[in-house]
């Protein structure tokens, strides 16, 4: 216990504040302690969900074929809820507290609510885990979606609602901070706080949808209402089902702006453009959830075109804005200090051995190329027919969430270990290896999932469907080589995750305490606020521009390939 208590100890002044030696922010004890609490809880959820990654991947890789079908769906549900929801949402509350009171240099208000929110979330998370693990026939494992009228225990819907209520309560201190900062003033929030604020609003939208969906299903399971409409449930469900992943996206982008600045020396190249992109998200990104409903009965063509195309491209456009603005911030910041010339010198001379920097950059690149492009392509009405419920979809969300958000959050956790827990890494070499090992292994595993889905049509949500389909002469055996590669790299990715948890927990328990004022090697060369150089708008951003042109070229190629495959099909629909 004393080891845990010592994690929450730092040298604060009489007023409870201390100056952070890396960010220069005035950090209050209350904010820091709650960021640590939510962050540590998130890492526990990551470890739980990650251990189920092993059994899920080793079952789907039929060469090993670890579990039978009934255990597989239980393990898959545990994997999904702990990683997609609990690891992410606990981290996101921490991101809100950093982006709100910490960046603004305030105490955390409403601390009792923060504590109540944490307790409620933990109770909900344990309840969801228990209801999945203890589910008995005729109830099925709920997967992430729990589509009605599949029989799922009412305890699942009930405890999921408890968790969502807890997350809402935990977000209130953040909103109170923003409210008190901006009320009666014409203050413009710093970009990171602004991004966190938009993240918070998207989160509330998603949570309301989730409470509505699960309350509707719960009412049916406890016989308050006689029947449920699967289409209405799906519409409500996907407000949270995909909305929760939009929270991840916004939190991740906010973390990108934060970390590229503090460890890479990035500047904001245009406040106007970056903020406009966040506003576009606010209005449009939740419409992206409609891509789950594109091949449902009962949706008009107009509904589909509006939701997934016309308006959703407001959000896709916003993502392309950030795709330029964030690397441009690094390029401008480093060029202004004279760090690296030529087309890419600013990038090659960057602090690649700093795992926080490397994790952030890999998150940006892998999210964009693997997650963003596939998201927009599969979000087109017609192409969606070929992706829906195949392993390609699973590849898409591993690219966005496992590569994009998880890598960014890995960077953030490592950053917090140095700056808030004030611990040195137990091994710098192992810490530096984390983003490389995890990024590379998970990228290959993700690509194999996409190939298995698109090129071989292998369905998702099956324990086995490649080598061993009972009662059918039909077979997906052609995809076996893909799965041999997938299995090996999934194992490597899981080992990299173990490395992350090991280094993090090891550093917290056994890392040397950093002396006051020590930056732990986190600061960019020349410090955080290097002066000099030309104004940002006059810096030659040609490296970023070249990278973005490559991105657009890959985007166009993937788009054309998918449409080519689609037009090879027989004629379908009106």
């Amino acid at each position: 216990m004393s080891a845990i208590a010592s994690l929450f100890r730092n040298d604060y002044g009489a007023d409870g504040f201390r100056a952070c030696s890396v960010t220069g922010l005035d950090v209050h004890r209350s904010v820091e302690n709650y960021v640590k609490l939510f962050g540590l809880t998130a890492v526990i959820a990551l470890a739980v969900g990650g251990s189920f990654a092993f059994s899920v991947a080793m079952t789907r890789w039929e060469f090993v074929g670890l579990l039978d079908a009934s255990s597989y769906y239980t393990h898959l549900s545990m994997h999904a809820w702990n990683l997609l929801i609990f690891w992410m949402v606990f981290m996101e509350i921490a991101v809100l507290y950093v982006g709100g009171p910490m960046v603004l240099g305030r105490e955390l208000p409403l601390r009792r609510l923060a504590a109540l929110g944490w307790v409620t979330m933990v109770v909900g998370a344990i309840g969801v885990n228990a209801s999945i693990w203890l589910a008995e026939a005729p109830n099925e494992a709920p997967l992430l979606t729990a589509y009605v009228p599949l029989p799922v225990t009412p305890w699942f819907y009930g405890t999921a609602i408890v968790f969502l209520l807890g997350a809402t309560i935990a977000a209130l201190p953040f909103f109170a901070t923003i409210w008190s900062e901006t009320r009666d003033s014409d203050r413009t929030l710093p970009l990171v706080a602004f991004g966190a604020f938009v993240t918070g609003i998207i989160a509330v939208e998603a949570i309301l949808g989730g409470i509505a969906a699960f309350a509707y299903a719960l009412a049916w399971r406890i016989d308050l209402i006689a029947s449920v409409d699967p289409g209405i449930y799906r519409q409500l469900y996907w407000i949270i089902g995909h909305g929760s992943q939009q929270i991840n996206l916004l939190a991740m982008i906010t973390v990108w702006y934060f970390l590229t600045h503090v460890v890479g020396g990035a500047v904001v190249v245009s406040e106007k453009i970056s903020r406009t992109a966040f506003i576009l998200y606010l209005f449009f990104i939740n419409l992206g959830a409609a891509h789950h409903l594109l091949v449902d009965p009962g949706m008009s063509a107009g509904w589909r075109i509006w939701n997934t195309s016309y308006a959703f491209y407001g959000a896709a456009f916003a993502s392309m804005i950030h795709a330029f603005a964030i690397p441009a911030g690094i390029e401008a910041g480093r060029r202004r200090r004279g760090q690296g010339g030529g087309l890419f010198g600013w990038l090659t001379s960057a602090p690649w051995r700093n795992p926080v920097f490397a994790a952030t950059i890999f998150s940006i690149i892998l999210f964009g190329f693997l997650g963003g492009i596939t998201g927009v392509v599969m979000g087109q009405i017609q192409v969606n027919m070929t992706w829906h419920n195949t392993l390609a979809t699973v590849g898409h969300f591993h690219a966005t969430v496992a590569l994009g958000t998880t890598l960014a959050f890995f960077g953030l956790v490592l950053f917090v270990i140095k700056t808030m827990f004030r611990r040195d890494f137990v091994s710098d070499a192992l810490a530096s290896a984390i983003p490389y090992a995890y990024g590379a292994a998970m990228s290959v595993a993700t690509l194999m999932l996409m190939y298995a889905g698109i090129l071989y049509g292998v369905p998702r949500r099956t324990a086995e469907a490649v080598r061993n389909i009972p009662g059918s002469e039909f077979s997906f055996a052609a995809a076996v080589p893909i799965f041999m590669i997938f299995g090996v790299f999934a194992l490597l990715a899981i080992l990299s995750g173990v490395l992350f948890v090991g280094v993090s927990v090891g550093s917290l328990l056994f890392g040397d305490r950093l002396p006051d004022g020590d930056d732990g090697g986190m600061l960019p060369e020349g410090g955080l606020h290097a002066d000099g150089g030309e104004p940002v708008h006059a810096v030659e951003l040609r490296g970023t521009f070249a990278l973005c042109l490559i991105f657009l070229g890959v985007f166009a190629a993937v788009y054309v390939l998918n449409w080519y495959l689609l037009t090879q099909l027989w004629a379908i629909g009106a």
Binding site: A69, P149, S270, Y313, M385, Y456, P459, P470, F545, I572
Partner: protein
């Protein structure tokens, strides 16, 4: 000097934008509009659109309708031969009612999709070319009518790709498409 942890300068809205960022905004905007136009246009000129007509129907009533339809079909070793252009498929745990069915290449059929119990996934692909595939969602309570024309003769397999219970992976059906 703008940094994301501090309030921006007072005139942040009027600060000049880097020339290359402006060009990128134009490219990204044009690309977004372009793919929107293509997708919306394809619903008019394209041959692959997951659009049909949906009717509300009680699951038991739909099951009865599939039963009546099956009475009118001709039974062969390769499957049922429908009397007209309507083909009824009923999804149930863990079977595709109404399949296998024998269809003619080049002829347009109205495929009726519905479920008797829970949600299912209607996933179709030819046996010899796995990447030619479509996936549609099937609900209890809805009858979705989608026209389809199979150009090539061959065997097309139907698997369920929505989790409908633990026997879900065994849920298979078949279209046998013959020369018309």
């Amino acid at each position: 000097m703008s940094n994301p942890l501090e309030d921006p300068d007072d005139d942040w809205w009027n600060s000049p934008v880097n020339r290359r960022e402006s060009i990128w905004l134009g490219l990204a905007g044009a690309w977004s509009l372009g793919i929107f136009t293509w997708m919306a246009g394809f619903t008019q000129f394209g041959d692959q659109n997951p659009i049909g007509t949906t009717y509300d129907v009680d699951p038991e009533e739909y099951q009865a309708r599939v039963g009546e339809y099956k009475e009118t079909t001709e039974e062969t070793d390769d499957g049922l031969i429908p009397p007209g252009d309507d083909v009824y498929v009923g999804a149930m745990r863990f079977n595709w009612d109404g399949l296998p069915v024998v269809l003619e290449a080049g002829r347009e059929y109205d495929i009726h999709l519905g479920a008797y119990d829970v949600q299912h996934g209607f996933s179709v692909r030819p046996e010899e070319n796995l990447n030619k595939q479509i996936n549609l969602q099937v609900f209890p309570g809805s009858e979705w009518v989608i026209p389809m024309t199979f150009d090539e003769p061959g065997t097309y397999h139907v698997v369920c790709n929505e989790f409908c219970g633990q026997g879900h992976r065994t849920m298979h059906g078949r279209f046998t498409v013959v020369e018309g």
